[in-house]
Symmetry: C2
C-alpha cells in the first residue's frame, strides 16, 4: 500500500485569531502547512511576533516572512498616523468601510501567497477572511475570493498548465464566536494570538479598538474566557 504524500497548503498567517484557526482547519483537512506572514508597515511588530509563535505551535513545515512598506503609499489607520477609532461601549462595529481598512490589502496578501504557492508547486491557499464580522471590508466578500481564484488560474503557469489553484476561506460565513469555538475544538492556543490595532509599548492589547472589541465580544458570546491580558485590567 503506497502512502500518499500530503498536499501542501499555503496559509496566510497574521498572528491573529482568524488566521490561526484557518491554519488549524487546513491542518485538520490533511495539508502540510507552509505559512506566509506579510508585515506591511504596521506601527508595531507585535502581530508578526505573534505569527511566529502561532506558526511554531502549529508545527508548520516552513514559515516565510515578507515585508512591505505600505506607508510609502499613505492612507490607512493601520499603517499611517491616523487615530485608531475606539469605543467603550459593547455595541457592534459601525456600518460602512472602517477607516482601518488597508487599501487592497487582501489582494496584495493573496498575490504573495500565490507567488509562494506556485514556487513550491502547491495548489491550495488558505486565508482567514470573514464576511460576517468584517462586512465593511470589500476584500472580505465571497465574490472577491472567487475573482481572485479566477485570476490565479489565468495568471500563472501552474494554473494554466497544471493543477488549478483553490483559494480556501473556511471562515467566510462564520461569526467570531463560531471561529473561537472551532479554534478551541482544534486545540488552538489563543494566548499566542494577538489582534489589537493599538497595543501598548509592552504589547498589551487596548481592549477598545474595533479588533479588540470583536475579539472580546466573540469570546463572551462563545462562553469561553479570553486568555489575553488587556491594558486596563
Amino acid at each position: 500500500m503506497s502512502k500518499k504524500k500530503k498536499p501542501i497548503g499555503v496559509v496566510l498567517l497574521s498572528g491573529g485569531i482568524d488566521s490561526a484557526v484557518t491554519a488549524a482547519i487546513a491542518r485538520e483537512r490533511g495539508f502540510t502547512l507552509h505559512a506566509l506572514t506579510v508585515g506591511y508597515g504596521q506601527r508595531h511588530g507585535i502581530e508578526t511576533r505573534a505569527a511566529d509563535k502561532v506558526a511554531a505551535a502549529l508545527a508548520v513545515a516552513k514559515h516565510v516572512r515578507q515585508h512591505l512598506d505600505l506607508r510609502a503609499f499613505g492612507g490607512s489607520a493601520l499603517t499611517a498616523d491616523l487615530d485608531v477609532p475606539k469605543a467603550d461601549s459593547d455595541t457592534l462595529v459601525a456600518p460602512g468601510i472602517p477607516v482601518t481598512y488597508v487599501p487592497a490589502r487582501n489582494t496584495v496578501l493573496l498575490s504573495l501567497a500565490l507567488a509562494y504557492a506556485e514556487s513550491i508547486a502547491a495548489a491550495d491557499i488558505f486565508i482567514g477572511v470573514n464576511a460576517v464580522d468584517y462586512s465593511g471590508y470589500p476584500d472580505c466578500r465571497p465574490a472577491f475570493i472567487e475573482a481572485f481564484e479566477n485570476l490565479a488560474n489565468l495568471g500563472t503557469k501552474a494554473g494554466v498548465e497544471g493543477d488549478r489553484f483553490r483559494i480556501h476561506a473556511p471562515l467566510l460565513a462564520m461569526t467570531k464566536a463560531d471561529i473561537i469555538r472551532e479554534g478551541v475544538r482544534l486545540g488552538v492556543d489563543f494566548s499566542l494570538t494577538h489582534s489589537c490595532y493599538d497595543p501598548s509599548p509592552e504589547g498589551l492589547a487596548c481592549g477598545r479598538c474595533d479588533s479588540c472589541r470583536l475579539r472580546r465580544q466573540g469570546f463572551a458570546r462563545a462562553g469561553i474566557p479570553d486568555p489575553l491580558l488587556y491594558r486596563n485590567e
Copy 2:
C-alpha cells in the same frame, strides 16, 4: 474658465523599454505620473537603478519603490540560481513558458500598484505587458488584464464606492519594433533603459539572453540604432 486637474496614473516602472514607453504613453494621454518600482530579489540592482533614471527623465510627480524577496519562495531563473538561457542565433524565442518566468509576478506587481492607486485616489494603472513577444507568459495575456481589473473593482473601497479602476496595458498588441518606434515618437531616451537578465558586474548587458535578443531584434526591425552598449562589442 476652471482648469481641470489632470488625473493621476500609477505606472509600474521596471527600468526596461516596455515600462518606459508605457509611462510616456500615459503622460501623452494627459495623466500625472506616479511611478512604482518593485525590486523582487533580482540578482542585480541595475534594473531598478535604470528605473530611477527613467522616472527622472519622465519628470514623474512621485516615484515609490518597494522591495520583495521572492527568492524566499524559490523557483525562477530571475530570482534564484538557475542559469539564464542564452543563444547566439537570432531565432525567435522558444515557444512555451520560459524558465525566466517569475511565479505570479504580474499579479504581485498589479496588486501593489492597486494598493498605491487606492491610497492616492487614482483610478488608472498602467502596465507595460505585451502579449506578442512574451506569448509564453500567462500573466501577459489580455484575459489576465481583464480578470485583474474585475478583481480591483471587487476588492477595494474605491472600486466599490467610487471611480472604477482601469488597468491600461497599451503595449498589449504591439511587437517590440512597434514599441521602440512609439518610444522614439514620444521622445523616450532608450540609453537609460536596461533589459538584460544577466549583466556584467559593471552593468553591461550580455546581448544574448532572451531579453537582450528581443531588444536587439526589436531595434533592428524598427531600423533604429540601439543606444545600449553590450558586453562583447
